[in-house]
C-alpha cells in the first residue's frame, strides 16, 4: 500500500518547489453519530470548505454511521443542505459539491453490532478498491461519550484498526467530554489504549483550532520583547474569561450532570491557561509543544478539600434578560432537576508553582447567560513602581494590561497610560488595539477545518495528549471533591444577563482586584 512521505521531492521530482506538507494522503473518514448536529453544523461544512481549498486528497470519502435508517441518497441530501446552510465560503460551487457527494455513503448501524461493523468493513474495502483510499482511515466519534470504548473495541475486534507499523494508517478523533473526573478520564484513556496507540488518538478541543489561539503562540515565541517580561517579576495576575451569552440550549440532560467546571474549565480554559503559561518549546512539533503544556498543567498547585471554597465561586443563573430576550432560571429549564446545584457560572483562582509563575494568581471565569459572548486572556502587569508625577495625577493610573481576545473580534490590545493633550500633566488610559480581523480582513478558517486537516496529516500538535488530559482533570477533580463535601443545597444566583453572582466580585475584592469587563 502507498503512502506519501516527507521525502516526496526525492521520490517525485515534480514536487520540487511545491508545498506538500498540507496535503494529506488518500483516506476515508467514518463519522459515528453522523445524524447528529455536530456532523451537520460543523464536520460536513468543514470538509466541503477543505475540498474547496483543494486540501482534501484524491478519492477522499466519508461514511456516515448512525442508528437512523436512511439511504445513501437521503444522507447525501442532508449533507448537501447542511453545506448550503453552514459552509463558510459561499456561493457553493455546485460542481465541486457534486464531486464531494460522490464520495459520501451511509451505513445504518448499531454501535454494538459486530455485523454492522462487518458491513462497515466491506464498505471501506469498496472505497479502497474503487476510490483508492488505500486503507487509510479516520474514525470520528461524534457520539455520546458512553459509546467511545465500545466503538473503539469493536473497530479493533473487526480488524478495522491498523497497527502503527502498518503502512496504512488509522486515526481516531474523540470529542469532549473526555471523562467526568480524573479516574474516569484515566480509565477511558486506558481502554482506548488497549485498541489504539496514543499516536492514533486525537482528542479534539476546538478552541485549539482557533486562529487566535495559534496566533498566541506566534505572539509569544516569535517576538523577542514579550518573553523577558512574561513572568512573576512583571506580571501581577492573569484573567481568563470564557463568557457565553447563550444558556444550555436543550442540553439540560447533559449539562445538569456536567456543569460549567467540567464543560468549559477542564478543557478549553485549562488549555488556554497552559498555552499562556508554558515554557518556550524547543520546536513547534507535537511532542515538544505537548511536553511544555503538560509541565505547566502539572505545576498547578494542588487544591486541598478545605481550600476549595476559598479558591472558587459557583453561581447559577436566575431568570433575566440577555440581549433583549427574556430567559427562565436554570432550574426551570427542561430536563434540569428543579433542585439542581449544578453551577452555570464558576470562577476560580489557580497558582502555577514554578519559577516563572510563583505567586501569580490565574483567575478563570466562565458562565452561561452572561451579558455577551467573549473569550479573552488578560495579562495584567504590575503598576509602575514610582511614577514621578503628583499624587492627584497618579492615583487614577491603571496598570498595563495585555489582552488577547479570542472571540469575537480576535486581536490583541495593550492598555497604556498617555498624557491628555493640554497645558497640565494629566494622564489617561489608552487602548492600543491590533484587531486581527480588521488588519487582516481575510476570514480565518473554521477551527474544525484546521483540526480535521491536521488529523489527516498526522499532526497532533493542536490535540491534547493523554497526560495533558489527565493533568487537567487533577485540579478539577480536587475542586469537585471539595464541592461535594460542602454539601450545599443552593448556589448563589445571578440574573441572566449579568456578569455572575455578587460573590464573584467579592472573591476578587478580597485580593484587592477587579474583574475585567471584556
Amino acid at each position: 500500500m502507498e503512502q506519501q512521505t516527507s521525502h516526496s521531492t526525492i521520490d517525485n521530482p515534480l514536487r520540487e518547489g511545491l508545498s506538500l506538507e498540507r496535503l494529506p494522503s488518500p483516506c476515508a473518514m467514518v463519522i459515528f453519530g453522523a445524524s447528529g448536529d455536530l456532523t451537520r453544523r460543523k464536520l460536513m461544512p468543514a470538509l466541503y470548505d477543505l475540498a474547496l481549498e483543494g486540501l482534501l486528497p484524491p478519492g477522499f470519502s466519508v461514511i456516515g454511521f448512525a442508528r437512523s435508517a436512511k439511504t445513501n441518497d437521503e444522507f447525501r441530501s442532508e449533507v448537501r443542505e447542511s453545506i448550503r446552510q453552514f459552509a463558510r465560503r459561499t456561493p457553493i460551487d455546485e460542481g465541486l459539491l457534486r464531486n464531494f457527494e460522490e464520495g459520501i455513503s451511509y451505513i445504518s448501524g448499531d454501535f454494538s453490532s459486530l455485523d454492522d461493523y462487518n458491513r462497515l468493513s466491506e464498505e471501506l474495502d469498496r472505497l479502497d478498491r474503487e476510490r483508492n483510499t488505500r486503507g487509510n482511515r479516520v474514525y470520528y466519534l461524534a457520539t455520546p461519550p458512553v459509546a467511545y470504548a465500545e466503538i473503539a473495541g469493536n473497530l479493533s475486534h473487526q480488524n478495522l484498526v491498523h497497527s502503527l507499523n502498518d503502512e496504512r494508517w488509522t486515526r481516531l478523533i474523540v470529542e469532549k467530554p473526555f471523562g467526568h473526573d480524573f479516574n474516569s478520564a484515566k480509565e477511558l484513556n486506558e481502554t482506548l489504549l488497549q485498541y489504539l496507540a496514543e499516536e492514533q488518538i486525537y482528542r479534539i478541543d476546538h478552541y485549539l483550532g482557533k486562529e487566535t489561539v495559534q496566533n498566541m503562540l506566534a505572539f509569544r515565541f516569535a517576538n523577542g520583547i514579550f518573553e523577558p517580561i512574561w513572568n512573576r517579576t512583571f506580571i501581577d495576575h492573569v484573567q481568563i474569561t470564557v463568557a457565553e451569552s447563550i444558556g444550555i440550549e436543550n442540553r439540560g440532560g447533559y449539562y445538569d450532570q456536567a456543569g460549567a467546571l467540567r464543560d468549559m474549565v477542564q478543557n478549553h480554559m485549562l488549555q488556554l491557561m497552559s498555552l499562556v503559561s508554558m515554557e518556550p518549546p524547543p520546536a513547534f512539533d507535537a511532542d515538544s509543544v505537548q511536553d511544555e503544556k503538560v509541565k505547566a498543567l502539572r505545576s498547578i498547585r494542588p487544591i486541598k478539600p478545605d481550600e476549595v471554597d476559598h479558591v472558587t465561586v459557583r453561581g447559577q443563573y436566575a431568570e433575566g434578560w440577555v440581549m433583549g430576550n427574556p430567559y427562565p432560571s436554570y432550574r426551570d429549564e427542561s430536563r434540569v432537576d428543579p433542585q439542581s446545584v449544578t453551577e452555570t457560572f464558576v470562577a476560580l483562582k489557580l497558582f502555577i508553582d514554578n519559577w516563572r509563575w510563583a505567586g501569580v494568581p490565574f483567575y478563570l471565569r466562565t458562565g452561561k447567560h452572561l451579558p455577551r459572548r467573549v473569550s479573552e486572556i488578560a495579562i495584567q502587569f504590575h503598576k509602575a513602581p514610582h511614577p514621578p508625577f503628583e499624587t492627584s495625577v497618579t492615583e487614577s493610573l491603571e496598570p498595563n494590561v495585555l489582552a488577547i481576545r479570542i472571540q469575537p473580534d480576535e486581536g490583541i490590545t495593550l492598555k497604556t497610560n498617555a498624557k491628555v493633550p493640554g497645558p497640565s500633566m494629566r494622564l489617561r488610559s489608552v487602548n492600543m488595539g491590533f484587531l486581527y480581523g480588521t488588519s487582516f480582513l481575510v476570514e480565518s478558517p473554521d477551527a474544525y477545518e484546521r483540526l480535521l486537516l491536521d488529523c489527516m496529516l498526522g499532526d497532533s500538535t493542536l490535540f491534547p495528549r493523554r497526560d495533558g488530559i489527565e493533568a487537567s482533570w487533577e485540579p478539577i477533580t480536587q475542586i469537585l471533591e471539595g464541592w461535594e463535601r460542602s454539601g450545599i443545597s443552593t448556589l448563589p444566583m445571578y440574573p441572566a444577563g449579568t456578569w455572575g453572582p455578587d460573590e464573584a466580585d467579592d472573591f476578587m475584592a478580597r485580593d484587592g482586584r477587579l474583574w475585567r469587563q471584556p
Binding site: 515534480l14 460551487d93 492600543m432 488588519s439 480582513l441 481575510v442
Partner: protein, 391 residues
C-alpha cells in the same frame, strides 16, 4: 469583515502635484483623530502594514482595475498602495495626486486600521522618473513590491529602474505579445540584483495543474512512470493571432526541467499545433504536442487539458489526464497506473482575478528557482523552433 467601508480622501492642488513632502504631510493628516472623527484620547490609531505595493498602470482602465484589486489585496496584505497612473498630455487637472485611506468601520465603533492609497497620475516626463518618485513615498523598513497590471514593457529603462528598486516585481506573462518575449524576461532577471524576485501571475495560474500532476506521482506505484513518459498533450485556449500560448509552453518546460528532459527538435505542424521533441535522461524520445482550441473566450491562453502517457517494456502503462470541466470552476483528474484502480479527483479552480493570484505571490521573499529553471528551459526549447509563428 464587518460594517461599511469608510473613506477619507484628499485631492491636491495641481500646482503641488510633485511635492512629495506635501503628500507625506497629507498622509499624516489622514491619521489625525479629527480626520477620522475619533476621540483623540480613547482611540489611538494603530495601523498594520506588511508591505508597500507600487502599481504602474498603463492607462485609466488598468488603473481602475488595479485600484479594485488593491482594495481586495489590502485585506490580506495590509499595505500602502502607491499607484502610478500613466496619462497622456500635460493637462494639469489630470495630474493631480489623490490620497485615500480606506477604513472598515463597524457600526458606531471606532474605525479599524486603514489602508492608505496614493494615486499619482504621471505623464511621459514623470514616467521616466518613477524610481525616484517611489523612494520618498514608501513606508521605510517594509518591502516594496511592484505590480505592473498591464502588458509589461520589460525592456523599458523605467521599468527596469523600478524593478531594481523593488524587492519583488510581479508581471503577467499571459499579456506578453509572444513567446519570444520570454527571452526579455530572462534578460531582465539577469540585470536585477539577486535579492530581487520576479513573479509571474501566469506561472501562478499553473499551480493547480502542477499540483495535480505531482499528486498522481506521489503514489509510489505510479512513480515508475516518471521515467517512462513518452507523450504529453497540452491543450490551451486559442489566442488572437494564433501565437503559441506561453502558459502551455511553461507547463511543458516545467515538466522538462523536473524530469531532466532535453529538447532536440521543435516545429509548428499546423496553425494551431506545435510539436516539441525531447529526450529523457536515458535518451528516449518524449513527444510533446501543444494545441489550441478556438472560442474559449476568457480562457484564451489558459490551459484547458493535459494528458500524458507512460509505457514500460514489460507492458505496464500509466495515463494521467487533467481537464477543465464544463462548469469551468473545476479541474478534473483521471488517472490509472498499472493494475491500480482509476483515481478520480476534482479541485476547485475557477478563472481567478489578478487579486486572487497576487495573494500568494505577495508572500514570496525569495526567487522561485523552479520558475527560473523552467523559463530557461522554455528559452532553450524556443531556439529549436524555425517556424514558431509561421503557418
Amino acid at each position: 469583515m464587518n460594517g461599511a467601508s469608510d473613506r477619507y480622501s484628499n485631492q491636491f492642488d495641481p500646482d503641488t502635484a510633485l511635492d512629495l513632502e506635501a503628500i507625506e504631510r497629507e498622509i499624516a493628516q489622514l491619521w489625525h483623530p479629527d480626520a477620522r472623527g475619533a476621540d483623540p484620547i480613547t482611540s489611538l490609531a494603530t495601523r498594520a502594514s506588511v508591505l508597500n505595493l507600487i502599481i504602474v498602470a498603463n492607462d485609466d482602465e488598468d488603473a481602475a482595475h488595479a485600484q479594485r484589486a488593491s482594495e481586495h489585496l489590502s485585506q490580506i496584505h495590509p499595505c500602502r498602495v502607491i499607484l502610478f497612473n500613466r496619462v497622456s498630455g500635460s493637462d494639469k487637472s489630470r495630474l493631480s495626486p489623490a490620497i485615500y485611506a480606506t477604513c472598515e468601520a463597524d457600526g458606531d465603533g471606532p474605525a479599524a486600521p486603514c489602508i492608505e492609497r496614493i494615486r499619482i497620475p504621471v505623464n511621459r516626463q514623470m514616467y521616466r522618473q518613477l524610481a525616484s518618485l517611489v523612494q520618498p513615498l514608501i513606508i521605510p523598513e517594509l518591502p516594496a513590491y511592484l505590480w505592473w497590471p498591464g502588458r509589461p514593457a520589460i525592456a523599458d529603462p523605467s521599468f527596469v529602474a523600478l524593478a531594481r528598486a523593488s524587492n519583488l516585481t510581479v508581471i503577467d506573462s499571459l499579456l506578453l505579445g509572444s513567446t519570444q518575449e520570454l527571452q526579455s524576461l530572462s534578460d531582465l532577471q539577469a540585470q536585477l540584483p539577486a535579492r530581487t524576485v520576479i513573479a509571474d501571475l501566469n506561472w501562478q495560474r499553473l499551480q493547480p495543474w502542477r499540483e495535480l500532476t505531482a499528486q498522481f506521482f506521489d503514489i509510489r506505484s505510479a512513480q515508475w512512470a516518471l521515467t517512462c513518459i513518452r507523450e504529453v498533450e497540452i491543450d490551451a485556449g486559442r489566442i488572437d493571432g494564433h501565437a503559441l500560448p506561453i502558459q502551455a509552453m511553461m507547463f511543458a518546460s516545467w515538466l522538462a526541467h523536473c524530469l531532466n528532459w532535453t529538447p532536440f527538435s521543435a516545429r509548428r505542424t499546423r496553425k494551431d499545433r506545435w510539436y516539441i521533441g525531447m529526450r529523457d535522461h536515458s535518451g528516449e524520445h518524449v513527444r510533446i504536442i501543444i494545441r489550441t482550441r478556438p472560442d474559449h473566450g476568457a480562457w484564451a491562453g489558459h490551459l484547458l487539458a493535459m494528458s500524458m502517457s507512460a509505457h514500460q517494456e514489460e507492458g505496464d502503462s500509466s495515463t494521467l489526464s487533467l481537464s477543465r470541466s464544463r462548469e469551468s470552476s473545476l479541474i478534473r483528474m483521471h488517472a490509472r497506473s498499472g493494475a491500480d484502480s482509476a483515481t478520480h479527483h476534482a479541485v476547485h479552480h475557477p478563472l481567478l482575478p489578478d487579486e486572487a493570484l497576487l495573494v500568494p505571490v505577495l508572500e514570496a521573499t525569495t526567487r522561485d528557482h523552479v520558475f527560473d529553471a523552467s523559463l530557461e528551459k522554455a528559452i532553450e526549447t524556443l531556439d529549436f523552433f524555425q517556424n514558431l509563428e509561421a503557418t
